[in-house]
């Protein structure tokens, strides 16, 4: 007669589509929090990278578990390409902002207001 002391529930023992989706949801919320709350522009950029990564996890997870197949992989690749272009452009803009205002805090760069 055998019995397990710590019976692992079924939904925990077999990672499926929902597990990956929940991870991507957590990453999405953390990225959103970084975008909304941090003052430093570069922290906002890191938040955007987290958002794009969470979207990519969704694409790849749906590719694995549904009939989306390789199309989703290609979409994820194009998202990565866009993220690379966006990071380069954004950092060039950040460098210009730093030269103009000698700060990279988003709340202090407000010349266009007024």
């Amino acid at each position: 007669m055998t019995y397990c002391i710590a019976q692992i529930p079924q939904w925990l023992a077999e990672p499926g589509l929902t597990h990956f989706l929940v991870i991507s949801a957590i990453l999405f919320s953390l990225g959103l929090l970084a975008v909304l709350t941090r003052r430093n522009v570069i922290m906002v950029l890191m938040g955007i990278e987290l958002l794009l990564n969470s979207a990519n996890i969704n694409f790849i997870a749906f590719a694995r578990y549904t009939t989306l197949a390789l199309d989703a992989h290609l979409i994820a690749l194009f998202v990565i390409i866009l993220a690379a272009a966006e990071a380069a452009i954004a950092l060039a803009i950040v460098l210009n902002i730093y030269q103009q205002f000698s700060t990279v805090n988003v709340d202090e760069v407000s010349t266009l207001r007024e």
Partner: protein, 170 residues
Amino acid sequence: MDLYAFFFYFFAVLTVGSAFVVVFSRNIIYSAFALMFTFFGVAALYVLLYADFVAVTQLLVYVGGILVLIIFGVMLTTKVFSVEMKTGTLNLLPATLFTAIIAGMLIFVFSATDWNVVPDQEWDTTVYGIGALLVNEFILPMQVAGVLLLVAMIGAVMMAARDWTKLKSK
């Protein structure tokens, strides 16, 4: 609990934990380095989802390219040897509430929906299929992406060059 589940939970905890460090760390350098572990964890999750090519691309582009760019940005825009490395926060309370609501809604929807899962798909390596798709159905997006990368490169160089007018007059 088999090996797949073990690795899944290991990399899930790595990804989410280092993402927490990214967002909540006071020091921006710590955030940048924690972001590297997040990218590694996401790449490992791609491997667990049989997306080998995307995983390698993730490592090359994110860890090798974007992260280095971000660290360069940090180094060039903060006074590294002063206390200024600490970054402040804005409207923390409403943003946290909003994000918590979004997270709760997303997780509820993701776990409550009855996804149309196709069981037990056989997966080969994806490189051949991705290459074939890139030169057939996805030829136009690939060309557009190439042009976009060229434009982004030229634009970034033009914007980041210090004295462009002086450079041009020579």
